[in-house]
């Protein structure tokens, strides 16, 4: 089990590193192409922005897993241990609820709330009409070999919405269980530099 976990973590980190590296390299090359050679790739900007969205929407579940999402714990830390744990479970449940509603809000109608749609509905509509992105096109050999349309379909870019939210909900559920079992304290980090500080913890202590 531990080995699978490590493998999954390595996979997630590699994807994140790759997305960030690709964004940087494409943007950098674009500057060089324009300034140095007066040319450029029209799809570069759209491509980079899609990678950016993938980085965030894929990474948000990884953030839950490593407990990196910021929260304010100053007040709940004043409470008795047992209450604290219940509230920590509630925090993780909020994350699960967020993902569940955003994926599809239709189930809320059970409670008489009039609302509809969500990431799944949005994605499947885009899949059905099959419209393309603005600037991103398939290279010609792919168009010819696979007989695809000229433009890359929007649903491909938007795939990360249902996917990322599902993963996010799953990680929140895991955190919830871990907190109930007492394996984890909360799902939040108290401030953005926690890890940075941990690396240099008490370096200057007397």
């Amino acid at each position: 089990m531990q080995r699978v976990d490590n493998w999954v973590t390595r996979f997630e980190e590699s994807v994140l590193a790759l997305l960030l590296a690709a964004m940087t390299i494409v943007s950098f090359t674009q500057v060089v192409a324009r300034y140095g050679f007066n040319t450029g790739w029209t799809g570069a900007l759209e491509f980079t922005r899609i990678l950016f969205a993938w980085l965030i929407l894929f990474g948000m579940s990884y953030g839950v897993k490593i407990g990196a999402h910021l929260g304010v714990d100053a007040f709940i830390r004043l409470l008795p241990k047992k209450v604290f744990r219940v509230i920590a479970v509630f925090g993780a449940a909020c994350g699960l609820l967020y993902a569940a509603i955003l994926l599809s809000a239709d189930w809320l109608s059970i409670f008489g709330i009039d609302t509809r749609g969500g990431a799944i509905d949005y994605w499947s509509r885009m899949y059905k009409i099959g419209i393309g992105l603005d600037d991103l096109r398939y290279p010609e050999f792919i168009q010819e070999t696979f007989g695809t349309k000229e433009r890359v379909q929007r649903w491909i870019a938007y795939l990360i919405l249902p996917l990322g939210l599902t993963l996010f909900g799953f990680r929140c559920l895991q955190a919830m269980i871990a907190i109930i079992q007492g394996k984890q304290e909360t799902m939040i980090a108290a401030h953005e530099a926690e890890e940075l500080v941990a690396e240099h913890k008490d370096e200057l202590k007397d």
Partner: protein, 311 residues
């Protein structure tokens, strides 16, 4: 006026320019005023300017999802849905704004409004913004002057081909970044209407503006077929009538506004260069081959109808 009463059909209009002072913003405001007055009790329109709700890309998706009922993106934004609107982008196609008006009210122009019904969109009218002029950080009198310059364009294959034809390099940039990019030299020139050149102060950071009138800038007032069909006959008829009248009134005001802003640019001390017939002929000669590239996408009859509107 903005709060909608219970039972009224809510019509959300999302666009990307200021609520006043821009032909599109003004027309949207005018439309909302009339709907809210004349259709009170039946419908109520809320305008969200300045990309407050959606940008031009996402607003088309929001239309399909039913979260917005009206939008007016620039015609070049429709390339993902139909290629026929490329006719408006063809350089030196229309002689002046009245020719554009004549084409729009022709059978061919009206038929073009229905060209995206299969994807679920219905065009309601063309909202003109003006004819585009070139500007650069050096004098542009002949097409060869543009050789090797970087021009900011809106996303459009036609515009890209057009810039290529004059030996320039087409660059895409967000509208709000253009001033800074022109000033610092990220790009050398741009093409836009008098009103946009004036309100964005592009003339401050350019050598001068050449009155080329090379291309029309227009928006398409668009809604979703699903929503339009959901209205009862009486409401739809009344709504469409108001839309048509506002479209006409808005377009009639555009030529005036353009002339005024051209004058203001002059008064601000900027240089405006008019082309002699010979110089103009050279621009046309260089750019006209662009038509051929897109003839298949657009359809020859449509181009002929557009050309015919010049007489």
């Amino acid at each position: 006026s903005e709060g909608c009463d219970d039972g009224e059909i809510v019509i959300k209009f999302s666009h990307v320019v200021a609520a006043t002072g821009h032909p599109k913003g003004d027309a949207a405001t005018m439309l909302a005023d009339r709907v809210n007055k004349e259709m009170d009790g039946k419908a109520c329109m809320q305008v969200f300017p300045n990309s407050q709700l959606f940008d031009d890309d996402k607003v088309m998706e929001a239309l399909l999802l039913g979260d917005v009922q009206l939008a007016a993106p620039s015609l070049s934004k429709f390339e993902a849905y139909t290629l026929k609107y490329r006719v408006f982008d063809l350089p030196f196609l229309f002689a002046n704004l009245s020719a554009v008006d004549r084409f729009n009210s022709s059978e061919a122009g009206k038929g073009l409004l229905d060209s995206m019904q299969d994807v679920g969109y219905q065009g309601l009218g063309y909202w003109l913004s003006g004819l585009k002029q070139f500007s650069a950080n050096k004098p542009l009198l002949e097409p060869s002057d543009a050789n090797g310059l970087k021009f900011r364009i809106q996303t459009s294959d036609v515009a890209e081909a057009m810039i290529e034809a004059i030996g320039g390099n087409a660059q895409k940039l967000a509208f709000k970044e253009v001033y800074g990019a022109l000033q610092t030299g990220v790009v050398d020139g741009q093409e836009n209407t008098w009103s946009n050149i004036y309100t964005q102060k592009f003339f401050e950071v350019q050598d001068g503006i050449t009155e080329t009138n090379h291309q029309v800038l227009a928006y398409l007032l668009v809604t979703s077929t699903e929503w339009l069909n959901s209205l009862d006959d009486e409401t739809r008829t009344q709504f469409l009538k108001i839309t048509e009248e506002v479209t006409k009134a808005g377009n009639d005001a555009v030529a005036d506004a353009e002339a005024k802003n051209r004058q203001r640019i002059l008064e601000a001390g900027a240089t405006i260069r008019e082309l002699t017939p010979e110089q103009r002929a050279k621009w046309v000669e260089v750019m006209k081959p662009v038509w051929g590239k897109f003839q298949e996408d657009i359809g020859e009859d449509l181009i002929n109808a557009a050309v015919a509107s010049n007489d």
